[in-house]
Subunit: 417 residues, 2 copies
């Protein structure tokens, strides 16, 4: 079979699909190295063009020239809520429920402890054993402090276990999309199941915000957290966010009760009086350069509907797998192929996955490796095209051919995300 695919019907099909989903194409709003197919936007989003000028202005003019006055003049003070609302709009959250603050790890801790205080007589918590590990680590620690017990239950079995636990259950904590396999979990269904026994649902949106058509308000989501540096393209370590449903705001008691969450932070009062708004989820002073980089990055989403973004995302991942088939590449696909069960990535299994990923990177297709055998490819719908999918599949086929010809062992070492 001709794996170079010149003149293949898939070339024409890629062009047709790119035309069909052109409304979401924001490639020109990003800077990406020439010749690179970047399928790692689920680890670190690409650089939106708008960021560099904004950051230069923040450093040189706002900080350098206007100094302390910028807290008011440039409304640094209001940035966490302003950017929070912008993210809220991408996840189906009306204004006033989302704030940018701290890291996802710190926010999981804060939200867990706050939620545990709402119904302290319920002491059981469910979490996915395949969560991104920080979720497991932080929740175990927070639960110990709160006197709660965490039980690891796969999301597919969550509704059954929720019903069994009944009024012992305080909270379920799940990721909307599995970080390794890309499987999309049933946020509305698991949330409903939790509510049916009077428990709350906290969702980790790290791998879904900006690529799914999330509807947190509509689906009754109680709390959510997520990072700013994956599909939101906020830059390395961009600040994270917290969503607290309006009806829970009054009862939300942030354990990291820093002055930025106070109702009158400049009153310099001795007693903590939480802000009546989502601001109470703030703690200390936010890293403003990184936060305003995130704000600039989010302009790449201006004018886009999340349903259109989701549609292009599904088309990209489906087309990529179609290309694998056409190339007779029969690597096991860890990601469900039903659209309703798939995030914005395709994960493939290979016994030498690490070496395959390195060889792909050398060929200009950037994905990443995840323990133990996952080739993880993320499809950021704003800057990845169907033509990119085809090229990635083709390069992968060439790499697999090479690997099958080799007999050497590939050193495996920790790879950074």
């Amino acid at each position: 079979m001709d794996r170079t695919l010149t003149d293949h019907p898939l070339v024409t099909r890629a062009a047709a699909l790119d035309a069909e989903h052109a409304g979401v194409d924001r490639r020109s709003a990003f800077t990406l190295p020439h010749g690179v197919v970047y399928l790692d936007g689920n680890s670190l989003g690409a650089l939106p063009r708008a960021v560099a000028d904004v950051v230069a202005d923040v450093v040189t003019r706002q900080w350098g020239e206007r100094l302390i006055q910028s807290w008011n003049e440039s409304d640094w003070w209001g940035a966490p809520e302003r950017v929070g609302d912008r993210i809220g709009a991408l996840v189906g959250a009306a204004a006033g429920q989302t704030v940018v603050t701290d890291s996802t790890s710190a926010n999981l801790f804060k939200v867990f402890v706050a939620a545990s205080r709402m119904q302290p007589w319920r002491t059981r918590v469910l979490v996915d054993p395949d969560s991104f590990p920080t979720d497991l680590y932080v929740l175990e620690s927070a639960a110990r402090l709160a006197g709660f017990t965490v039980e690891q239950i796969h999301p597919g079995r969550a509704p059954e276990r929720i019903a069994q636990l009944g009024d012992k259950l305080a909270l379920v904590v799940y990721s909307s999309v599995d970080y390794r396999t890309g499987e999309l979990w049933d946020l509305p269904g698991i949330t409903r199941a939790a509510h049916a026994v009077g428990a709350f649902a906290l969702w980790d949106l790290c791998h879904s915000a900006g690529v799914l058509d999330l509807q947190l308000d509509r689906d009754g989501c109680d709390f959510a957290v997520g990072c700013g540096y994956k599909y939101l393209n906020g830059g390395p370590g961009a600040p994270a966010y917290v969503y607290v449903r309006t009806e829970h705001l009054e009862g939300f008691h942030n354990p990291v009760s820093g002055w930025h969450g106070h109702a009158r932070p400049f009153g310099m009062e001795r007693e903590y009086d939480p802000a009546p708004s989502i601001s109470r989820a703030r703690s200390g002073t936010a890293p403003m350069i990184s936060l305003l980089a995130l704000e600039a990055a989010l302009t790449a989403y201006d004018g886009l509907e999340v349903t259109a973004v989701r549609s292009r995302s599904l088309s990209l991942t489906a087309f990529f797998v179609e290309c694998l088939g056409a190339l007779a590449l029969d690597l096991p696909v860890a990601t469900p192929m039903e659209g309703g069960r798939r995030g914005s990535q395709v994960s493939l299994r290979h016994p030498r996955a690490y070496a395959v990923v390195q060889a792909l990177i050398a060929r200009g297709v950037v994905g990443d490796f995840r323990e133990p055998d996952i080739i993880r490819l993320g499809f950021a719908p704003l800057y990845v095209s169907h033509a990119d999918c085809l090229r990635a599949a083709q390069q992968l086929a060439l790499v697999i051919d090479e690997k099958e010809d080799e007999r050497g062992e590939f050193a495996q070492r920790a790879q950074v995300t």
Copy 2:
């Protein structure tokens, strides 16, 4: 009296003092607006010239071109410890005990909870009622979670109360320098008193790191936290840091146990196993643009000895008060004039302090207001000169004269720091 001070002996004296302390003059390493005397570096440090280029490189090349590879290539992963050690060198901490992470508020929470676990049978904590309020808010919250009791005791009375509490006492939490009055507290003495009863000392260095000749290791300090955006000039909301004395590292259990504090973060293990090093004080992914801006900013300290910085700082504040005297300005000085009891600021009291500060700013002398009646002036020894001190005193005298001639009321509103 001639308040314009042309040809006054103080002009000559300012020049002589600037010559004497010229070794610490790094004014050319900072960008400051022309004609401004910036006495607010204790709120937001001025912009070091090195920052803009570094930030542009981080955004455009490291993030934009090298993307995910920069985590290894540019050692983003090691930046928290690398920058931590640089700060450690400024506060008398040998390498491996200081890490940049989160905000001061979050770090206070983390360190308090970790410290509370070391001797859980001791449940009493002392804190200064005049602490920056976030310290009070966060410690109260953390103490509630840990089942501890916080008692507010002025640092001047701390040794006596420490002795009374004896083996009930777990921890004392004090600021090295009072954020309003600029009073310097006896870190070595209070730490010794805590140790004498077997308790630990946690110091907040926000208003002292970079201007005092702190010696955390020598003085037996157990834990410390501080921010990056005051005298360290890391930019608005720059990430904060944690110091944990080597002997406490093994017993330090960070409650916000995110994956960045794991011994093998890329092992993606289900159990949290804290790094054997100071890295265990990390939580989530650090805001890298802000963190690397801080790293660039710290180069302004290259080649400086903290003892020389401290000496210039004391000279600046003493000279400023001398100028007030020469100008017959008899505002009450809230800051102790004994060198051993003074940080790097001079705080003056005035019933219309807010209006005075605003009028000073209009005249190009930037300080800030603190409730209820404090005109707070910070003297960053790297970029403030004795000539600046004289000019500030002179402008203050003119403002006070004006205010005395006025009979209007000045609207007071919250001012941002």
